[in-house]
């Protein structure tokens, strides 16, 4: 995040200027930005993450839809400029409601306005925090032997020990996890374990997995918010901690892992801020279904479609993922983290996780 809003204003003015200049030159106005789809992400060797490629799309006023998008863009940059001027910020949802007053430029759904905000990030190489926009979703929960110093709203610095100073629901990650908001004072753990479901997070908390295996438990709450991913990225980088990801065994969970390890398609323009390339997938894998004889559900038609789509996703092209996805398609089954309870409540912490962690060399036994 920048403190220099002058720079941000210059950048968003450029968006309006492009359109204005087109009109003045009697050209049909358009804005160009990278295609934000699976087909246009490339691995960036330097950054070690997946970024948008060279394919571009044009939003042109030649078509009605394109013209609407341009008009909305004009409204949005104007709104952002205004917020910077009056030193306010708004949530994405608030902006969506504010667009109600934009006459026929208003959005039809919040998804539309969220996407356009992301587009603007891509076009201006700013982050939405620069635009004074913030998500309404809160970050996820954290428990483990680390000390975080947080700048509170009263401008006091407060140290929080993520075991001793928090209840069983843990420390809650704020939406802003940049250095001016939080810093990591100490981290006496061996690795970070990111967990998809709240049920499994609570199981690990109850079984004291954070203590017994010197780990930091992070609850992802499904598809992780930007702040959760940024939190993992910063902590892992600054304290040199390995990251393992523990999810359900279905195509959607693999995307959760990809967004942490490789960068998500939607946010590929800021992958280097959000992704932790060294993250490892722990499970549950399709092989685990067979090896641990787990209870399963049948793959739905959407699941199969999604798995097939992943087979053509450039991020899943290594042999581990190809083999696992093909195996799952062959099995026609999916499973959940909590299916491990088939063997008792302690099985996951006493047997499954130690075995898997040993397998990838995270712990030695």
């Amino acid at each position: 995040m920048r403190n220099n809003y002058e720079d941000v204003i210059k950048k968003i003015d450029l968006v309006a200027l492009k359109v204005y200049n087109d009109l003045e030159k009697t050209e049909i106005p358009y804005i160009q930005l990278p295609t934000r789809s699976k087909s246009n992400i490339e691995f960036n060797e330097k950054l070690n993450v997946w970024k948008y490629g060279k394919s571009m799309i044009q939003r042109s006023a030649k078509s009605l839809d394109g013209a609407y998008m341009l008009l909305r863009t004009m409204y949005m940059v104007d709104f952002i400029k205004e917020m910077i001027k009056i030193k306010k910020s708004s949530t994405l949802r608030e902006m969506y409601y504010i667009s109600e007053g934009w006459d026929f430029a208003k959005f039809h759904s919040q998804n539309e306005s969220n996407l356009l905000a992301e587009d603007l990030e891509v076009i201006t190489s700013c982050m939405r925090e620069d635009f004074k926009l913030r998500p309404e979703e809160d970050g996820a929960r954290v428990i483990g032997n680390i000390i975080i110093e947080e700048m509170t709203r009263n401008n006091n610095k407060k140290k929080i020990h993520c075991q001793d100073d928090v209840g069983d629901s843990g420390y809650s990650i704020p939406y802003n996890v940049e250095p001016e908001k939080i810093s990591f004072k100490s981290a006496d753990v061996d690795f970070i374990i990111a967990i998809e479901t709240g049920g499994m997070f609570d199981r690990l908390v109850e079984n004291r997995f954070d203590s017994s295996y010197r780990s930091l438990l992070v609850h992802l709450k499904g598809q992780p918010a930007r702040s959760t991913r940024r939190f993992i990225k910063r902590l892992s980088g600054e304290k040199n901690l390995p990251v393992v990801v523990f999810t359900d065994c279905d195509p959607w969970s693999y995307r959760i892992f990809a967004s942490i390890a490789y960068g998500a398609i939607k946010t590929a323009h800021i992958s280097e801020y959000l992704a932790t390339p060294s993250s490892q997938y722990l499970g549950v894998t399709p092989s685990d279904i067979e090896n641990y004889d787990l209870p399963t559900d049948k793959l739905t038609r959407e699941d199969v479609k999604s798995l097939k789509s992943e087979l053509s996703d450039p991020r899943f092209q290594d042999s581990f993922w190809k083999n696992e996805i093909k195996l799952q398609l062959k099995l026609g089954k999916k499973s959940e983290q909590q299916a491990l309870a088939k063997y008792g409540l302690d099985y996951v912490t006493d047997t499954y996780l130690p075995e898997k962690l040993t397998e990838i060399g995270m712990i030695k036994r």
């Binding site: 009109l23 006023a61 030649k62 009605l64 341009l70 008009l71 104007d78 006459d103």
Partner: protein, 647 residues
């Protein structure tokens, strides 16, 4: 033991009364069940009314009332404003089966349909035992006659039960009241449908229907013009049967075969008559009255071997496209259809009988989209309500692939489904029905072909409309883009940057890059006094008829050149045949019965041309859409008009 003699048999034969004849044949006469009986009774009555009025050039006003009694007895009242019936004829018309004047005449008439009103009287008498009541008035200053009639079923004669004179408000007319056993609950829908359909193909008639609960339905008159009177023609040799041929020969005044052929048949000249005689190997001086059965047989066979001209077609009385459209529009008002198209074929002939096909198609609006299309079949202006499946009209519709025209149809064959109502009217001097019940037209290839041709014309028009709708939608989008969004983009960006508003004209031409044509139609009512010249139309009657309707249709067409360069084009607008063209601005390069044409030279970029023209002789809504065509310009440059394909 008594020996039965021929005399005894004769007595018995006589006793096979009309009642028995009726009982045996009631299914083919349309009285097969209590639902049918109700519809047939209404139908016979109303057909009589229409015929009677048209006979003397009175615009029909028909009143139908049904009173339903608990016990299944219905009292049917049908009344018209026709010429009335002279006292002495009343008992014959209402009390004698198969009594009528048009048994052997060759002309288009409703009377071919059913057995007559007397069958209704008989049916009523047989089922309820009650007598029919007839009121008739033939002259304004004279009282009406009221008669109660019964049919003597042995003699096939009417018995007058009572007779009196009464005062009746009407200047003239006929009213009949019959009690019949009928199923009103079930028949009601059909009666309504029959009256509505009748009103559609008889736009000159006004029909009022009063239901037992007092509900009144009005089927309004939409045309003040009586249909052209169908002309009686002589039989055509191709269509005549051997028996009829012999009968005509017995009655002829001609003494020579060649003269007989020329005088008694249509389409027979000297050459054809001689050719027929030659083929039949008959002496042309032969007296037809002396001819043997064998000679008639070879004459009859010879007819088929000689090429004879098609029969004249002026004996037909089609409804006309404008009136079909107007009627359909009127009757489908509640479902507010998207559009109505019509097509009419020139007269044609099958085995010596002239016929003509007209088709109308109502599309869209609130017509259900998931049901089969509705088919309205008509023969000589009479609705056909039953046996739809066995009718050539149905098979013609089923044989066309309607999927290209916005309708659903499994594998492109069979009954289409979707938001459409089909109207098919076949007029002929002899409708070839599949059976005596006269509810379905037989599968005659010539007729099927003509129906298909007419349907295809309609289908093309439907496609044109759908095409136009899509184009319109695009036009609307473009319009929205350049008039609302683009100026707003300019406003917003200049405001943010504190810069002056840029001019948008050139950008707009770049975005549009078309010649854009839009149109508007308005109607102006004017009182008759204001009409300087009485409007003339040749619509129905052969003679010019004065017809000051008092509506001027005003059409405006706007042509805007959104191309970057100057454009020129020729523009055509189709106009109905019946329309009289009034003021036209700018000056057209051509006007004929079918279109107005303008040569638009050099419309500059961003330039606009307004075209205005007025049409008289039409009712409001008859001309509700400009069919615009263009030539001498790349049609892809133009939105709002199609390429002119020639006349």
């Amino acid at each position: 033991m008594n020996k039965i003699t021929a005399h005894d048999l004769a007595k018995k034969q006589k006793e096979i009364s009309v009642a028995e004849f009726f009982e045996r044949n009631k299914h083919i006469l349309g009285f097969g069940n209590q639902t049918r009986a109700l519809v047939t009774s209404v139908k016979e009555g109303v057909d009589n009314c229409l015929d009677a009025c048209e006979e003397v050039n009175i615009l029909p006003e028909i009143y139908v009332e049904i009173n339903n009694h608990e016990d299944g007895e219905c009292k049917l009242i049908i009344e018209d404003n026709g010429p009335g019936i002279v006292k002495s004829q009343i008992k014959h018309i209402f009390g004698r089966l198969l009594y009528g004047s048009r048994f052997h005449s060759v002309r288009q008439s409703r009377g071919q349909q059913g057995i007559g009103i007397s069958a209704v009287v008989l049916y009523g008498q047989l089922t309820t035992g009650k007598h029919a009541k007839v009121i008739s008035k033939i002259q304004e200053d004279r009282p009406a006659v009221i008669m109660e009639l019964a049919i003597d079923t042995n003699k096939n004669r009417a018995e007058i039960i009572s007779r009196d004179i009464i005062h009746w408000e009407k200047p003239s007319g006929t009213r009949i009241e019959v009690s019949i056993i009928a199923d009103y609950k079930r028949g009601k829908r059909f009666v309504y449908e029959y009256l509505q359909s009748t009103s559609i193909v008889n736009p000159h008639a006004q029909i009022t229907f009063k239901e037992p609960d007092g509900t009144k339905h009005f089927f309004e008159r939409t045309s003040e013009l009586l249909p052209r009177r169908s002309v009686e023609i002589k039989p055509h040799p191709y269509g005549v049967e051997l028996g009829t041929l012999i009968k005509i020969a017995k009655q002829t005044n001609s003494r020579k075969l060649s003269a007989f052929l020329k005088n008694e048949f249509t389409s027979m000249g000297d050459r054809t008559a001689n050719a027929v005689c030659e083929k039949a190997q008959l002496e042309k001086h032969l007296n037809p009255k002396d001819m043997t059965r064998e000679q008639f047989l070879s004459l009859h066979k010879a007819f088929k071997k000689v090429k004879i001209m098609a029969p004249p077609t002026d004996c037909l009385s089609p409804i006309g496209e404008t009136l079909i459209k107007r009627s359909l529009k009127h009757e489908t008002k509640e479902i507010s259809p998207e559009f109505i198209v019509t097509a009419s074929r020139p007269p044609s002939a099958y085995t010596g009988s002239p016929f003509q096909v007209e088709v109308g198609l109502v599309y869209g609006g609130n017509i259900p989209t998931d049901a089969n299309v509705k088919i309205m079949r008509f023969a000589n202006r009479v609705p056909l309500l039953y046996q739809q499946g066995g009718c050539v009209i149905t098979s013609a519709i089923s044989s066309i692939d309607w999927r290209r025209y916005g309708l659903d149809q499994k594998s492109g064959k069979g009954m289409p489904s979707g938001p459409a109502i089909f109207l098919v009217h076949v007029s002929s001097t002899l409708i070839p029905f599949t059976s005596e019940s006269k509810e379905a037209i037989a599968d005659i290839p010539e007729i099927e072909n003509e129906i298909k041709l007419a349907l295809r014309i309609c289908a093309r028009k439907v496609q044109h409309h759908i095409h136009k709708k899509v184009k319109r939608e695009k036009t609307r989008e473009k319009f929205e883009l350049i008039t609302r969004i683009l100026p707003e983009i300019a406003k917003k960006s200049s405001k943010m940057l504190n810069k002056p508003l840029p001019s948008l004209d050139s950008v707009i031409t770049k975005i549009m890059d078309v010649v854009w044509i839009e149109d508007l139609i308005e109607y102006e009512k004017i009182s008759k006094k204001d009409v300087e010249k009485p409007v003339q139309t040749t619509l129905i009657d052969n003679s010019l008829k004065q017809h000051g309707d008092g509506t001027i249709t005003k059409s405006k067409i706007i042509v805007i050149n959104y191309k970057r360069t100057s454009q020129k084009l020729n523009l055509y607008v189709l106009i109905p045949k019946e329309a009289i063209v009034g003021t036209v601005n700018p000056k057209p390069s051509k006007i004929n019965y079918n279109f107005i044409k303008w040569n638009l030279d050099a419309i500059p970029s961003s330039g606009k041309i307004d075209i205005n023209f007025e049409l008289a002789g039409l009712k409001e809504g008859d001309f509700d859409e400009n069919d615009i065509y263009i030539e001498n310009i790349n049609p892809t440059y133009v939105i709002g008009a199609d390429k002119w394909e020639g006349e």
